[in-house]
Protein backbone atom coordinates (compact mmCIF):
# COMPACT_ATOMS: atom_id res chain seq x y z
CA UNK A 1 0.00 0.00 0.00
CA UNK A 2 2.69 2.45 1.00
CA UNK A 3 4.73 1.34 -1.95
CA UNK A 4 1.85 2.12 -4.28
CA UNK A 5 1.30 5.53 -2.71
CA UNK A 6 4.93 6.38 -3.28
CA UNK A 7 4.82 5.01 -6.79
CA UNK A 8 1.71 7.04 -7.53
CA UNK A 9 3.51 10.13 -6.44
CA UNK A 10 6.40 9.35 -8.79
CA UNK A 11 3.99 8.90 -11.69
CA UNK A 12 2.11 12.07 -10.74
CA UNK A 13 5.25 14.17 -10.59
CA UNK A 14 5.98 13.34 -14.19
CA UNK A 15 2.42 14.03 -15.20
CA UNK A 16 2.59 17.43 -13.61
CA UNK A 17 5.82 18.21 -15.40
CA UNK A 18 4.18 17.36 -18.69
CA UNK A 19 1.18 19.50 -17.76
CA UNK A 20 3.41 22.45 -17.03
CA UNK A 21 5.15 21.89 -20.33
CA UNK A 22 1.80 22.39 -22.00
CA UNK A 23 0.64 25.28 -19.85
CA UNK A 24 -1.79 26.61 -22.42
CA UNK A 25 -3.55 23.26 -22.71
CA UNK A 26 -3.75 23.11 -18.96
CA UNK A 27 -5.39 26.50 -18.65
CA UNK A 28 -7.75 26.00 -21.55
CA UNK A 29 -8.73 22.57 -20.22
CA UNK A 30 -9.50 23.90 -16.75
CA UNK A 31 -11.36 26.93 -18.05
CA UNK A 32 -13.48 25.04 -20.55
CA UNK A 33 -14.70 22.61 -17.92
CA UNK A 34 -15.52 25.49 -15.61
CA UNK A 35 -17.41 27.24 -18.37
CA UNK A 36 -19.40 24.14 -19.12
CA UNK A 37 -20.39 23.81 -15.49
CA UNK A 38 -21.31 27.47 -15.19
CA UNK A 39 -23.61 27.08 -18.16
CA UNK A 40 -25.60 24.30 -16.49
CA UNK A 41 -25.86 26.21 -13.25
CA UNK A 42 -26.99 29.31 -15.09
CA UNK A 43 -29.74 27.21 -16.62
CA UNK A 44 -30.97 26.11 -13.20
CA UNK A 45 -30.84 29.69 -12.02
CA UNK A 46 -33.02 30.79 -14.93
CA UNK A 47 -35.56 28.11 -14.09
CA UNK A 48 -35.67 29.25 -10.48
CA UNK A 49 -36.24 32.84 -11.52
CA UNK A 50 -39.69 31.71 -12.52
CA UNK A 51 -40.54 29.21 -9.82
CA UNK A 52 -39.71 29.02 -6.15
CA UNK A 53 -39.23 25.31 -5.78
CA UNK A 54 -38.97 22.15 -7.81
CA UNK A 55 -40.80 19.34 -6.11
CA UNK A 56 -40.15 20.94 -2.75
CA UNK A 57 -36.46 21.63 -3.40
CA UNK A 58 -35.15 25.16 -3.31
CA UNK A 59 -32.46 26.61 -5.55
CA UNK A 60 -29.68 26.31 -2.99
CA UNK A 61 -30.62 22.76 -2.12
CA UNK A 62 -30.37 21.80 -5.74
CA UNK A 63 -27.11 23.68 -5.96
CA UNK A 64 -25.86 21.64 -3.03
CA UNK A 65 -26.68 18.37 -4.84
CA UNK A 66 -24.96 19.76 -7.86
CA UNK A 67 -21.88 20.66 -5.86
CA UNK A 68 -21.52 17.16 -4.44
CA UNK A 69 -21.89 15.68 -7.91
CA UNK A 70 -19.26 18.02 -9.36
CA UNK A 71 -16.74 17.42 -6.58
CA UNK A 72 -17.28 13.65 -6.62
CA UNK A 73 -16.92 13.60 -10.37
CA UNK A 74 -13.73 15.62 -10.17
CA UNK A 75 -12.05 12.84 -8.16
CA UNK A 76 -12.85 10.51 -10.99
CA UNK A 77 -11.89 13.06 -13.60
CA UNK A 78 -8.51 13.96 -12.12
CA UNK A 79 -7.28 10.57 -11.01
CA UNK A 80 -9.09 7.89 -12.99
CA UNK A 81 -9.64 9.49 -16.36
CA UNK A 82 -7.45 6.96 -18.16
CA UNK A 83 -10.11 4.29 -17.74
CA UNK A 84 -11.86 5.85 -20.71
CA UNK A 85 -8.93 4.96 -22.93
CA UNK A 86 -8.63 1.30 -21.97
CA UNK A 87 -9.82 -0.03 -25.33
CA UNK A 88 -8.11 2.15 -27.87
CA UNK A 89 -5.02 3.12 -25.96
CA UNK A 90 -4.14 -0.11 -24.18
CA UNK A 91 -5.86 -3.24 -25.40
CA UNK A 92 -6.08 -2.67 -29.19
CA UNK A 93 -2.56 -1.40 -29.80
CA UNK A 94 -1.05 -4.06 -27.54
CA UNK A 95 0.11 -1.62 -24.87
CA UNK A 96 -1.45 -3.77 -22.20
CA UNK A 97 1.26 -6.39 -22.86
CA UNK A 98 3.80 -3.88 -21.68
CA UNK A 99 1.98 -3.37 -18.39
CA UNK A 100 1.53 -7.07 -17.82
CA UNK A 101 5.27 -7.66 -17.64
CA UNK A 102 5.79 -5.08 -14.94
CA UNK A 103 5.91 -6.11 -11.32
CA UNK A 104 2.95 -3.94 -10.35
CA UNK A 105 -0.80 -4.16 -10.58
CA UNK A 106 -1.77 -3.39 -14.20
CA UNK A 107 -4.91 -1.48 -13.22
CA UNK A 108 -2.86 0.72 -10.93
CA UNK A 109 -0.45 1.29 -13.77
CA UNK A 110 -3.20 2.39 -16.16
CA UNK A 111 -4.74 4.70 -13.60
CA UNK A 112 -1.40 6.20 -12.62
CA UNK A 113 -0.45 6.75 -16.25
CA UNK A 114 -2.62 9.84 -16.36
CA UNK A 115 -3.53 12.71 -14.13
CA UNK A 116 -6.12 14.75 -15.92
CA UNK A 117 -5.82 18.52 -15.92
CA UNK A 118 -9.44 19.22 -16.89
CA UNK A 119 -10.56 17.58 -13.67
CA UNK A 120 -9.06 20.45 -11.71
CA UNK A 121 -11.59 22.81 -13.29
CA UNK A 122 -14.31 20.45 -12.16
CA UNK A 123 -12.90 20.40 -8.64
CA UNK A 124 -12.67 24.17 -8.42
CA UNK A 125 -16.24 24.58 -9.64
CA UNK A 126 -17.50 21.90 -7.28
CA UNK A 127 -15.90 23.62 -4.31
CA UNK A 128 -17.23 27.03 -5.35
CA UNK A 129 -20.74 25.63 -5.67
CA UNK A 130 -20.53 23.89 -2.30
CA UNK A 131 -19.16 27.07 -0.75
CA UNK A 132 -22.06 29.05 -2.19
CA UNK A 133 -24.81 26.59 -1.35
CA UNK A 134 -23.86 25.45 2.15
CA UNK A 135 -24.16 28.82 3.97
CA UNK A 136 -27.63 29.23 2.48
CA UNK A 137 -28.87 25.93 3.82
CA UNK A 138 -30.42 25.96 7.22
CA UNK A 139 -27.93 23.58 8.77
CA UNK A 140 -25.67 23.38 11.75
CA UNK A 141 -22.19 22.50 10.49
CA UNK A 142 -19.80 20.83 12.88
CA UNK A 143 -16.72 18.67 12.49
CA UNK A 144 -18.85 15.53 12.18
CA UNK A 145 -20.89 16.98 9.34
CA UNK A 146 -17.81 18.10 7.48
CA UNK A 147 -16.12 14.72 7.89
CA UNK A 148 -19.28 13.04 6.71
CA UNK A 149 -19.50 15.31 3.69
CA UNK A 150 -15.92 14.43 2.75
CA UNK A 151 -16.70 10.72 3.08
CA UNK A 152 -19.80 11.17 0.93
CA UNK A 153 -17.87 12.99 -1.76
CA UNK A 154 -15.13 10.37 -1.86
CA UNK A 155 -17.79 7.67 -2.06
CA UNK A 156 -19.45 9.55 -4.86
CA UNK A 157 -16.16 9.69 -6.74
CA UNK A 158 -15.58 5.97 -6.22
CA UNK A 159 -19.02 5.13 -7.60
CA UNK A 160 -18.18 7.05 -10.76
CA UNK A 161 -14.90 5.17 -10.96
CA UNK A 162 -16.47 1.76 -10.38
CA UNK A 163 -19.19 2.23 -12.99
CA UNK A 164 -16.67 3.40 -15.57
CA UNK A 165 -14.29 0.56 -14.78
CA UNK A 166 -17.10 -1.95 -15.08
CA UNK A 167 -18.15 -0.80 -18.51
CA UNK A 168 -14.62 -0.09 -19.74
CA UNK A 169 -13.80 -3.73 -18.95
CA UNK A 170 -16.10 -4.78 -21.79
CA UNK A 171 -13.27 -3.64 -24.06
CA UNK A 172 -11.67 -7.02 -23.40
CA UNK A 173 -14.42 -8.63 -25.46
CA UNK A 174 -15.45 -5.78 -27.76
CA UNK A 175 -13.38 -3.69 -30.15
CA UNK A 176 -13.80 -0.75 -27.80
CA UNK A 177 -16.51 -0.27 -25.22
CA UNK A 178 -16.03 3.49 -25.16
CA UNK A 179 -19.50 4.27 -26.62
CA UNK A 180 -21.10 2.14 -23.91
CA UNK A 181 -19.06 3.76 -21.16
CA UNK A 182 -20.00 7.13 -22.54
CA UNK A 183 -23.72 6.34 -22.74
CA UNK A 184 -23.79 5.04 -19.17
CA UNK A 185 -21.77 7.96 -17.88
CA UNK A 186 -24.26 10.39 -19.36
CA UNK A 187 -26.96 8.86 -17.19
CA UNK A 188 -25.21 10.45 -14.25
CA UNK A 189 -26.54 13.81 -15.42
CA UNK A 190 -29.97 12.72 -14.20
CA UNK A 191 -28.56 12.17 -10.77
CA UNK A 192 -27.66 15.82 -10.34
CA UNK A 193 -31.31 16.66 -9.70
CA UNK A 194 -33.58 15.41 -6.94
CA UNK A 195 -34.45 11.85 -7.91
CA UNK A 196 -37.97 12.44 -6.60
CA UNK A 197 -38.80 14.42 -9.70
CA UNK A 198 -38.48 11.30 -11.84
CA UNK A 199 -40.75 8.40 -12.57
CA UNK A 200 -40.36 5.55 -10.09
CA UNK A 201 -38.74 3.26 -12.67
CA UNK A 202 -35.93 5.71 -13.32
CA UNK A 203 -35.47 6.25 -9.62
CA UNK A 204 -35.14 2.53 -8.95
CA UNK A 205 -32.74 2.18 -11.85
CA UNK A 206 -30.48 4.98 -10.62
CA UNK A 207 -30.54 3.61 -7.09
CA UNK A 208 -30.16 -0.13 -7.46
CA UNK A 209 -28.94 -0.89 -10.98
CA UNK A 210 -26.50 1.87 -11.80
CA UNK A 211 -26.35 3.63 -8.45
CA UNK A 212 -25.62 7.13 -9.66
CA UNK A 213 -28.24 8.31 -7.16
CA UNK A 214 -25.55 7.77 -4.52
CA UNK A 215 -23.16 10.11 -6.28
CA UNK A 216 -25.09 13.25 -5.37
CA UNK A 217 -28.75 13.12 -4.51
CA UNK A 218 -28.69 10.68 -1.57
CA UNK A 219 -25.54 12.12 -0.01
CA UNK A 220 -27.08 15.61 -0.21
CA UNK A 221 -30.36 14.30 1.14
CA UNK A 222 -28.57 13.21 4.28
CA UNK A 223 -27.98 16.84 5.19
CA UNK A 224 -31.46 17.98 4.33
CA UNK A 225 -33.94 16.75 6.94
CA UNK A 226 -37.15 16.98 5.02
CA UNK A 227 -35.87 14.76 2.23
CA UNK A 228 -36.86 11.55 3.97
CA UNK A 229 -33.77 9.75 2.66
CA UNK A 230 -31.44 10.21 5.60
CA UNK A 231 -31.17 6.52 6.36
CA UNK A 232 -30.67 5.40 2.82
CA UNK A 233 -28.06 8.14 2.47
CA UNK A 234 -25.93 6.58 5.20
CA UNK A 235 -25.44 3.55 2.99
CA UNK A 236 -23.50 5.62 0.45
CA UNK A 237 -20.00 4.46 1.48
CA UNK A 238 -21.16 0.85 1.55
CA UNK A 239 -22.66 1.20 -1.92
CA UNK A 240 -19.40 2.68 -3.16
CA UNK A 241 -17.44 -0.20 -1.67
CA UNK A 242 -19.69 -2.86 -3.17
CA UNK A 243 -19.51 -1.16 -6.57
CA UNK A 244 -15.72 -1.12 -6.45
CA UNK A 245 -15.54 -4.78 -5.46
CA UNK A 246 -17.87 -5.81 -8.27
CA UNK A 247 -16.10 -3.68 -10.86
CA UNK A 248 -12.67 -4.88 -9.78
CA UNK A 249 -13.69 -8.53 -9.90
CA UNK A 250 -15.11 -8.00 -13.34
CA UNK A 251 -11.87 -6.33 -14.40
CA UNK A 252 -9.93 -9.33 -13.17
CA UNK A 253 -12.15 -11.60 -15.22
CA UNK A 254 -11.45 -9.43 -18.23
CA UNK A 255 -7.72 -9.75 -17.61
CA UNK A 256 -7.97 -13.52 -17.37
CA UNK A 257 -9.85 -13.63 -20.60
CA UNK A 258 -7.18 -11.46 -22.18
CA UNK A 259 -4.48 -13.85 -21.00
CA UNK A 260 -6.19 -16.73 -22.72
CA UNK A 261 -7.14 -15.04 -25.99
CA UNK A 262 -4.34 -12.54 -26.36
CA UNK A 263 -6.66 -9.88 -27.69
Amino acid sequence: MRRYAKLYWEFAKNQMKVMMEYRIDFIIGVLSVMLEQFASIFFIKVVFNHIEQINGWSFYEILFIYGIAATGRSIHHIFFDNLWTLGWQYIRPGQLDRLLIRPINPLFHIVADRLHQDGFGQLIIGLIILGTAIPQLDLAWGAVEIALLVVMIISSGMIFVAVNLFFATFSFWMIDSLPVVWAVFNLSDFARYPLTIYHKGIRTFLTWIIPYGFTAFYPAAYFIDKSGFRELALWTPAVALVCCVIAYSFWNRGLRSFASTGS
Partner: protein
Amino acid sequence: MITVENLQKEYKLVKRDPGLKGAVKSLFHRQYETKKAVKGVDFTIGQGETVGYIGANGAGKSTTIKMLTGILTPSAGKVTVNGLVPYENRQENALSIGAVFGQRTQLFWDIPVRESFNLLKHIYEIPDQEFAETVSMFTEVLNLEPLLGVPVRQLSLGQKMRCELAAAFLHRPKVVYLDEPTIGLDIAVKVRIRKFIKEMNKIWGTTVLLTTHDMQDIEEICDRIIIIDEGRILYDGGLEEIKVQFGQKRVIHFDLPELDSPFILPAPLLGMAEVLPASEGETKVSLSFDHERVKSSFVISEMMNRYDIQDLTIADPKIESIVEELYNRREQGGTYEQVLANS
Protein backbone atom coordinates in the same frame (compact mmCIF):
# COMPACT_ATOMS: atom_id res chain seq x y z
CA MET B 1 16.19 -21.98 -15.42
CA ILE B 2 13.59 -21.87 -18.19
CA THR B 3 11.82 -25.13 -18.75
CA VAL B 4 9.11 -25.57 -21.30
CA GLU B 5 7.19 -28.81 -21.58
CA ASN B 6 4.73 -29.65 -24.31
CA LEU B 7 3.77 -26.02 -24.58
CA GLN B 8 0.73 -25.34 -26.74
CA LYS B 9 -1.38 -22.38 -27.64
CA GLU B 10 -4.43 -22.21 -29.78
CA TYR B 11 -6.18 -18.97 -30.62
CA LYS B 12 -9.90 -18.89 -31.00
CA LEU B 13 -11.01 -16.78 -33.89
CA VAL B 14 -14.53 -15.72 -34.65
CA LYS B 15 -15.37 -17.00 -38.08
CA ARG B 16 -17.16 -14.39 -40.08
CA ASP B 17 -18.69 -14.40 -43.52
CA PRO B 18 -17.65 -11.39 -45.56
CA GLY B 19 -19.70 -8.23 -45.72
CA LEU B 20 -22.25 -6.61 -43.48
CA LYS B 21 -24.51 -9.62 -43.66
CA GLY B 22 -21.73 -11.76 -42.27
CA ALA B 23 -21.11 -9.28 -39.48
CA VAL B 24 -24.76 -9.26 -38.47
CA LYS B 25 -24.96 -13.03 -38.68
CA SER B 26 -21.94 -13.42 -36.42
CA LEU B 27 -23.67 -11.25 -33.82
CA PHE B 28 -26.29 -13.89 -33.25
CA HIS B 29 -24.58 -17.05 -34.23
CA ARG B 30 -20.90 -17.11 -33.46
CA GLN B 31 -18.76 -19.70 -35.07
CA TYR B 32 -15.27 -20.21 -33.82
CA GLU B 33 -12.28 -21.42 -35.63
CA THR B 34 -9.20 -22.46 -33.75
CA LYS B 35 -5.78 -21.58 -34.93
CA LYS B 36 -2.97 -23.63 -33.43
CA ALA B 37 -0.05 -21.25 -33.12
CA VAL B 38 2.21 -23.40 -30.92
CA LYS B 39 1.78 -27.15 -31.11
CA GLY B 40 3.80 -28.73 -28.35
CA VAL B 41 7.19 -27.22 -27.78
CA ASP B 42 9.81 -28.52 -25.35
CA PHE B 43 13.11 -27.00 -24.36
CA THR B 44 15.24 -26.07 -21.38
CA ILE B 45 17.47 -23.07 -21.21
CA GLY B 46 20.14 -22.72 -18.56
CA GLN B 47 21.30 -19.62 -16.75
CA GLY B 48 23.49 -17.44 -18.94
CA GLU B 49 22.65 -19.07 -22.26
CA THR B 50 22.05 -16.95 -25.32
CA VAL B 51 19.45 -18.59 -27.47
CA GLY B 52 18.19 -17.52 -30.87
CA TYR B 53 14.59 -18.47 -31.45
CA ILE B 54 14.01 -18.35 -35.14
CA GLY B 55 11.41 -19.29 -37.66
CA ALA B 56 9.41 -17.94 -40.57
CA ASN B 57 6.66 -15.33 -40.16
CA GLY B 58 3.79 -16.79 -38.22
CA ALA B 59 5.84 -19.72 -36.92
CA GLY B 60 4.78 -19.04 -33.34
CA LYS B 61 7.79 -17.21 -31.93
CA SER B 62 6.01 -14.23 -30.44
CA THR B 63 3.27 -16.46 -29.09
CA THR B 64 5.87 -18.58 -27.27
CA ILE B 65 7.52 -15.49 -25.82
CA LYS B 66 4.20 -14.16 -24.60
CA MET B 67 3.65 -17.39 -22.72
CA LEU B 68 7.16 -17.29 -21.25
CA THR B 69 6.64 -13.74 -20.01
CA GLY B 70 3.23 -14.56 -18.54
CA ILE B 71 1.18 -12.36 -20.84
CA LEU B 72 -0.61 -15.36 -22.31
CA THR B 73 -1.81 -18.50 -20.60
CA PRO B 74 -0.95 -21.68 -22.55
CA SER B 75 -3.73 -23.94 -23.82
CA ALA B 76 -1.72 -26.89 -22.60
CA GLY B 77 1.73 -27.67 -21.29
CA LYS B 78 3.87 -26.02 -18.72
CA VAL B 79 6.44 -23.28 -18.35
CA THR B 80 8.65 -22.50 -15.39
CA VAL B 81 11.09 -19.64 -15.20
CA ASN B 82 13.32 -19.48 -12.12
CA GLY B 83 10.94 -21.92 -10.48
CA LEU B 84 7.91 -19.70 -11.09
CA VAL B 85 5.04 -20.31 -13.45
CA PRO B 86 4.92 -16.96 -15.27
CA TYR B 87 1.21 -16.85 -16.11
CA GLU B 88 0.29 -17.79 -12.53
CA ASN B 89 2.71 -15.49 -10.75
CA ARG B 90 2.90 -12.79 -13.34
CA GLN B 91 3.94 -9.90 -11.14
CA GLU B 92 6.51 -11.86 -9.18
CA ASN B 93 7.99 -13.26 -12.35
CA ALA B 94 8.07 -9.77 -13.85
CA LEU B 95 10.63 -8.67 -11.26
CA SER B 96 13.32 -10.88 -12.71
CA ILE B 97 12.64 -10.57 -16.41
CA GLY B 98 13.11 -7.86 -18.99
CA ALA B 99 11.63 -7.65 -22.45
CA VAL B 100 11.72 -5.79 -25.71
CA PHE B 101 8.91 -6.24 -28.18
CA GLY B 102 9.85 -5.10 -31.68
CA GLN B 103 8.17 -1.86 -32.54
CA ARG B 104 6.22 -1.44 -29.31
CA THR B 105 7.67 0.86 -26.77
CA GLN B 106 8.13 -0.06 -23.12
CA LEU B 107 8.97 3.49 -22.21
CA PHE B 108 6.67 6.29 -21.21
CA TRP B 109 5.64 8.16 -24.29
CA ASP B 110 5.41 11.75 -23.14
CA ILE B 111 8.23 12.05 -20.70
CA PRO B 112 11.98 12.32 -21.25
CA VAL B 113 14.04 9.15 -21.32
CA ARG B 114 15.78 10.03 -18.07
CA GLU B 115 12.43 10.31 -16.27
CA SER B 116 11.27 7.07 -17.85
CA PHE B 117 14.29 5.32 -16.38
CA ASN B 118 13.61 6.96 -13.08
CA LEU B 119 10.04 5.67 -13.03
CA LEU B 120 11.31 2.20 -13.85
CA LYS B 121 13.69 2.52 -10.95
CA HIS B 122 10.71 2.97 -8.65
CA ILE B 123 8.62 0.30 -10.34
CA TYR B 124 11.37 -2.29 -9.94
CA GLU B 125 12.59 -0.83 -6.65
CA ILE B 126 16.17 -0.60 -7.82
CA PRO B 127 18.54 0.67 -5.10
CA ASP B 128 19.92 4.18 -5.76
CA GLN B 129 23.55 3.18 -5.97
CA GLU B 130 22.93 0.26 -8.31
CA PHE B 131 20.65 2.41 -10.48
CA ALA B 132 23.21 5.17 -10.84
CA GLU B 133 25.91 2.69 -11.82
CA THR B 134 23.70 0.93 -14.33
CA VAL B 135 22.51 4.11 -15.98
CA SER B 136 25.99 5.52 -16.35
CA MET B 137 27.26 2.27 -17.82
CA PHE B 138 24.36 2.04 -20.30
CA THR B 139 24.73 5.67 -21.24
CA GLU B 140 28.25 4.94 -22.29
CA VAL B 141 27.78 1.61 -24.07
CA LEU B 142 24.62 2.67 -25.90
CA ASN B 143 25.63 6.30 -26.30
CA LEU B 144 22.49 7.59 -24.65
CA GLU B 145 23.84 10.89 -23.37
CA PRO B 146 22.24 13.08 -26.09
CA LEU B 147 18.91 11.26 -25.74
CA LEU B 148 18.32 11.37 -22.00
CA GLY B 149 16.55 14.72 -21.99
CA VAL B 150 14.32 14.03 -24.99
CA PRO B 151 10.72 12.84 -24.67
CA VAL B 152 10.36 9.33 -26.06
CA ARG B 153 7.87 10.35 -28.73
CA GLN B 154 10.50 12.58 -30.34
CA LEU B 155 13.09 9.82 -30.76
CA SER B 156 13.84 8.08 -34.03
CA LEU B 157 13.36 4.33 -34.23
CA GLY B 158 17.03 3.59 -33.69
CA GLN B 159 17.33 6.02 -30.79
CA LYS B 160 14.21 4.59 -29.22
CA MET B 161 15.45 1.04 -29.59
CA ARG B 162 18.69 1.86 -27.78
CA CYS B 163 16.63 3.27 -24.93
CA GLU B 164 14.34 0.24 -24.99
CA LEU B 165 17.30 -2.06 -24.61
CA ALA B 166 18.55 -0.03 -21.67
CA ALA B 167 15.10 -0.14 -20.08
CA ALA B 168 14.89 -3.91 -20.48
CA PHE B 169 18.20 -4.48 -18.68
CA LEU B 170 17.89 -1.67 -16.15
CA HIS B 171 16.84 -3.81 -13.20
CA ARG B 172 19.47 -6.43 -14.02
CA PRO B 173 16.95 -9.15 -14.79
CA LYS B 174 17.97 -12.80 -14.85
CA VAL B 175 16.28 -13.38 -18.20
CA VAL B 176 15.68 -11.03 -21.08
CA TYR B 177 13.30 -11.77 -23.92
CA LEU B 178 13.99 -9.85 -27.08
CA ASP B 179 11.36 -10.15 -29.77
CA GLU B 180 12.88 -8.67 -32.93
CA PRO B 181 14.99 -6.02 -31.23
CA THR B 182 16.79 -5.06 -34.44
CA ILE B 183 13.80 -4.72 -36.74
CA GLY B 184 14.06 -1.68 -38.99
CA LEU B 185 17.42 -0.52 -37.67
CA ASP B 186 20.45 0.60 -39.63
CA ILE B 187 23.61 -1.45 -39.47
CA ALA B 188 25.44 0.86 -37.06
CA VAL B 189 22.66 0.67 -34.49
CA LYS B 190 22.40 -3.08 -34.96
CA VAL B 191 26.09 -3.45 -34.24
CA ARG B 192 25.82 -1.34 -31.10
CA ILE B 193 22.83 -3.25 -29.84
CA ARG B 194 24.43 -6.63 -30.46
CA LYS B 195 27.52 -5.54 -28.63
CA PHE B 196 25.41 -4.35 -25.73
CA ILE B 197 23.48 -7.60 -25.45
CA LYS B 198 26.67 -9.65 -25.55
CA GLU B 199 28.23 -7.49 -22.91
CA MET B 200 25.27 -7.76 -20.54
CA ASN B 201 25.30 -11.52 -20.97
CA LYS B 202 28.99 -11.57 -20.14
CA ILE B 203 29.04 -9.34 -17.07
CA TRP B 204 25.74 -10.27 -15.43
CA GLY B 205 25.20 -13.72 -16.90
CA THR B 206 21.81 -12.63 -18.19
CA THR B 207 19.97 -15.37 -20.03
CA VAL B 208 18.90 -14.09 -23.44
CA LEU B 209 16.15 -15.44 -25.65
CA LEU B 210 16.11 -13.61 -28.93
CA THR B 211 13.89 -13.77 -31.98
CA THR B 212 14.98 -12.15 -35.19
CA HIS B 213 14.87 -12.47 -38.92
CA ASP B 214 18.42 -11.17 -39.21
CA MET B 215 20.76 -14.14 -39.06
CA GLN B 216 23.67 -11.85 -38.39
CA ASP B 217 22.12 -11.16 -34.97
CA ILE B 218 22.15 -14.87 -34.31
CA GLU B 219 25.74 -15.36 -35.51
CA GLU B 220 26.98 -12.63 -33.24
CA ILE B 221 24.90 -13.06 -30.13
CA CYS B 222 23.76 -16.64 -29.77
CA ASP B 223 25.46 -19.86 -28.76
CA ARG B 224 22.42 -21.92 -29.47
CA ILE B 225 19.49 -21.81 -31.82
CA ILE B 226 16.02 -23.20 -31.68
CA ILE B 227 14.24 -23.25 -35.01
CA ILE B 228 10.49 -23.31 -34.87
CA ASP B 229 8.24 -23.97 -37.80
CA GLU B 230 4.47 -23.99 -37.81
CA GLY B 231 4.40 -24.27 -34.06
CA ARG B 232 6.87 -27.13 -33.74
CA ILE B 233 10.56 -27.29 -33.07
CA LEU B 234 12.56 -28.14 -36.14
CA TYR B 235 16.01 -27.91 -34.63
CA ASP B 236 17.48 -27.26 -31.23
CA GLY B 237 21.20 -27.20 -30.78
CA GLY B 238 24.44 -25.28 -30.75
CA LEU B 239 25.20 -22.81 -33.45
CA GLU B 240 28.47 -24.57 -34.22
CA GLU B 241 26.84 -27.98 -34.35
CA ILE B 242 24.24 -26.91 -36.84
CA LYS B 243 26.98 -25.59 -39.06
CA VAL B 244 28.83 -28.88 -38.87
CA GLN B 245 25.68 -30.91 -39.33
CA PHE B 246 24.22 -28.90 -42.18
CA GLY B 247 27.15 -26.79 -43.20
CA GLN B 248 28.59 -29.26 -45.68
CA LYS B 249 25.55 -28.52 -47.75
CA ARG B 250 26.35 -25.90 -50.31
CA VAL B 251 23.87 -24.04 -52.41
CA ILE B 252 24.68 -22.44 -55.75
CA HIS B 253 22.22 -20.14 -57.43
CA PHE B 254 22.37 -20.06 -61.23
CA ASP B 255 20.86 -17.43 -63.45
CA LEU B 256 19.87 -19.04 -66.76
CA PRO B 257 18.20 -16.40 -68.93
CA GLU B 258 17.93 -18.69 -71.96
CA LEU B 259 16.07 -21.42 -70.15
CA ASP B 260 12.85 -22.03 -72.05
CA SER B 261 11.87 -25.58 -71.15
CA PRO B 262 11.64 -26.96 -67.61
CA PHE B 263 15.03 -27.32 -65.99
CA ILE B 264 16.59 -30.76 -66.12
CA LEU B 265 19.55 -31.64 -63.97
CA PRO B 266 22.64 -32.49 -66.08
CA ALA B 267 23.13 -36.27 -66.09
CA PRO B 268 26.49 -36.36 -64.23
CA LEU B 269 24.93 -34.52 -61.34
CA LEU B 270 21.98 -36.87 -60.92
CA GLY B 271 21.89 -38.19 -57.41
CA MET B 272 24.56 -35.76 -56.29
CA ALA B 273 22.80 -32.44 -56.36
CA GLU B 274 19.27 -31.48 -55.63
CA VAL B 275 17.16 -28.80 -57.29
CA LEU B 276 15.65 -26.34 -54.85
CA PRO B 277 12.43 -24.63 -55.74
CA ALA B 278 12.87 -21.55 -57.89
CA SER B 279 12.29 -18.32 -56.10
CA GLU B 280 12.25 -15.60 -58.75
CA GLY B 281 10.69 -16.64 -62.03
CA GLU B 282 11.76 -19.67 -63.95
CA THR B 283 15.16 -18.50 -65.03
CA LYS B 284 16.80 -18.99 -61.65
CA VAL B 285 17.78 -22.40 -60.45
CA SER B 286 19.40 -23.32 -57.17
CA LEU B 287 21.28 -26.51 -56.63
CA SER B 288 22.08 -27.93 -53.26
CA PHE B 289 24.77 -30.53 -52.78
CA ASP B 290 27.06 -32.04 -50.22
CA HIS B 291 30.41 -30.43 -50.75
CA GLU B 292 32.28 -33.30 -49.22
CA ARG B 293 31.02 -35.56 -52.00
CA VAL B 294 30.95 -33.15 -54.91
CA LYS B 295 33.19 -30.22 -55.58
CA SER B 296 31.64 -26.89 -56.34
CA SER B 297 33.79 -26.58 -59.44
CA PHE B 298 32.41 -29.86 -60.72
CA VAL B 299 28.82 -28.71 -60.29
CA ILE B 300 29.57 -25.42 -61.98
CA SER B 301 31.40 -26.94 -64.93
CA GLU B 302 28.68 -29.51 -65.53
CA MET B 303 26.10 -26.76 -65.48
CA MET B 304 28.17 -24.69 -67.90
CA ASN B 305 28.39 -27.58 -70.31
CA ARG B 306 24.70 -27.89 -70.48
CA TYR B 307 23.36 -24.38 -69.98
CA ASP B 308 24.13 -20.82 -70.81
CA ILE B 309 24.86 -19.29 -67.43
CA GLN B 310 24.65 -15.57 -67.05
CA ASP B 311 25.50 -15.36 -63.41
CA LEU B 312 25.97 -17.54 -60.37
CA THR B 313 26.33 -17.09 -56.64
CA ILE B 314 27.66 -19.56 -54.14
CA ALA B 315 25.85 -19.26 -50.83
CA ASP B 316 28.14 -19.25 -47.81
CA PRO B 317 27.78 -22.05 -45.34
CA LYS B 318 26.33 -19.47 -42.99
CA ILE B 319 23.48 -19.98 -40.66
CA GLU B 320 21.46 -17.89 -43.08
CA SER B 321 21.72 -20.37 -45.91
CA ILE B 322 21.25 -23.33 -43.60
CA VAL B 323 18.04 -21.88 -42.33
CA GLU B 324 17.00 -20.90 -45.81
CA GLU B 325 17.52 -24.44 -46.94
CA LEU B 326 15.51 -25.82 -44.05
CA TYR B 327 12.65 -23.47 -44.91
CA ASN B 328 12.87 -24.35 -48.58
CA ARG B 329 12.65 -28.04 -47.89
CA ARG B 330 9.73 -27.38 -45.66
CA GLU B 331 7.95 -25.51 -48.42
CA GLN B 332 8.51 -28.38 -50.79
CA GLY B 333 6.01 -30.14 -48.64
CA GLY B 334 8.01 -32.40 -46.38
CA THR B 335 6.89 -32.91 -42.82
CA TYR B 336 9.33 -31.57 -40.32
CA GLU B 337 10.54 -35.07 -39.45
CA GLN B 338 11.36 -35.65 -43.10
CA VAL B 339 13.13 -32.35 -43.37
CA LEU B 340 15.42 -33.30 -40.54
CA ALA B 341 15.91 -36.84 -41.81
CA ASN B 342 16.85 -35.59 -45.26
CA SER B 343 19.45 -33.24 -44.02
